[in-house]
Amino acid sequence: MHERDPQSQVSGAHSPCVASAPIFALVDGNSFYCSCERVFNPSLINQPVIVLSNNDGCVISRTDEAKAIGIKMGDPLHLIGDMIKRHRVRVYSSNYALYGDMSARMMTTLAQFTPELEVYSIDEAFLSLDGFANRDLVDYAREIRRVVRRDTGIPTAIGIGPTKVLAKVANRAAKKNKTSGGVLNLCDRAAQDSMLAEFAAADVWGIGARSAAKLARMGVTTALQLRDADVDAVQKLLTIVGRRIVLELRGQSCLALEMVQEDRKQIVSSKSFGRPVYKLTELKEAVANYATRACEKLRRQKSACHVLSVFVQTNRFKDGPQYYNSGTITFGAGTASTVRMIAAASGVLETIFRDGIEYKKVGVILSDLRLASAVEFSLFDDQHKHAQDIKTMSVMDAINARMGRDTLKVGACGNVRAGTSANAGANGVANVKVGGARMAQARAAGQSAPAPAWTMKAAMRTPCYTTRWQDLLKVG
């Protein structure tokens, strides 16, 4: 299909935006987390590999080999033990430090190929190929794949289309169709017709399970039927979102590239515990760590928070007393200070804590986020203290940026890094007093310290090959 000029093909279609039809490519990493693991462990090549969710719960990434033996996304680990043993499946805990770094490398590499790129998720990006109409798009996409594979080691699939929704369809088909060579171009109207006829409406980008059920009642089960459905009827059923999807399937681009990610309106930091937690002190330590992470995010996007909520909950899937509660506190003047946030969170936690309960999860939610530079003060707010907080935090951020996360942290966080077994830096314990808050140097935790209950379970995590000196790959 790639011998003809795709631009003219789009013009030939009954698309209303003929003059300068955009072209989108969706690039995504195949079994991304597993592929990251393979880059640093060649013995995994051609073997079934899976990566598990936080706390080693369920399958969140699997290679084709793992898929072929029947492992599904979302399968809980404890239900597939037999399959893993029988087929010698290689099982890994998620290593987000590694995946995040590999993702950044992939995105940087992709950015060489287009002036406009939207990072859509950790392993997906939309590229604008508007200026490339005269080149052979499929050849160009093959070159993109080759370079990403060479420079980062990550295999990808690329779907090309006149709209984002069609590029998504093309991407999925490129992955399924082994003869495609990982690239599929849906700019051609005839190609769209035959592809959409075989494509389930439920698999179209933006159509969830509930929408799919509604469409099915209307007799719409394939993407082709959805494209040719009455657009007003679809809008009635699925709001304006549904209308856009139909138009996009028709080749009319409604969704532009979003190059600048909007700042978050809410920051949530929470995780399930690796084992049951009963004590208030342990919960407080966990909350302090999640508040620390959330405040770092807050400062990175230059926001200040006005509302803090803390929640606790038990394991819904376990017998025994169930408990869920949350508490909220508001700040008169917005803050991004870790010290203030932890103090506030700790206070809220005390009000919602009940003794004798097996806690499974705790978290903090920062909301009503506004620009930090536009914080307003009332008569009773201490502006001097606020200015001091900002200074303290910028010193803390600068030190942590240079010396590593959690080098300097609030004493309430305890002495172990969140989510990792203690990494001994053995610098000696130092209590550093900054801006009135007691800080403890966490690096000195030492390997002998047992991990507190609230840290994540990650029994099969690989080293952080690209982000820690002590974790570098060893080669002979």
């Binding site: 060649p42 992939m106 420079d151 980062t152 502006q383 001097h384 200015a387 790959l473 080669v475």
Partner: protein
């Protein structure tokens, strides 16, 4: 920043504090001490600091660090525990040092290619060369561009 009128109604002690904040003005930092009269003749020549990343790394997204174990490349000045800088984007040229995958294992060797025949050569007589033949799993991961050896 709060408006002036708002400050006016603040209690005296608080106002003093607020003023203290206000006097905290950021000034540019000059690299020389100020001798009344003439500025330092060096001020016109301030340059950025030398950055080793710039010297050692062409393509950060394609560059990986690995730690050397073993002494098979000692003749090339690559010692155990040295740090190797590997650039995946570079195509291997004859006689360059590469990080390769051979049958499921990583190896660092000198890459030689003659008449379509590839041999990975060790730089230590105690280690055998690896001749790449059909049926072997073989891939050049990247070219080793620099070795960082600690002299301590």
């Amino acid at each position: 920043m709060p408006s002036k009128s708002r400050n006016d109604i603040v209690a005296p002690a608080r106002a003093a504090k607020s003023r203290a904040v206000k006097t905290n003005v950021h000034l540019p930092f000059f690299g020389c001490s100020v001798s009344c009269g003439f500025p330092s003749p060096a001020d016109d020549y301030i340059e950025k600091k030398l950055d080793l990343n710039e010297y050692l790394i062409d393509k950060p997204a394609a560059t990986f660090f690995v730690r050397v174990s073993g002494d098979s490349m000692i003749g090339a000045g690559i010692h155990p525990d040295d740090l190797l800088i590997v650039d995946r984007s570079k195509e291997p040229k004859n006689k360059c040092i590469v990080l390769a995958i051979v049958n499921g294992d990583f190896t660092v060797k000198r890459y030689t290619s003659r008449g379509g025949k590839i041999i990975l050569k060790a730089e230590n007589p105690a280690h055998a060369d690896i001749a790449i033949v059909d049926g072997m799993q073989f891939e050049v991961v990247g070219v080793c561009t620099n070795v960082i050896h600690n002299l301590k």
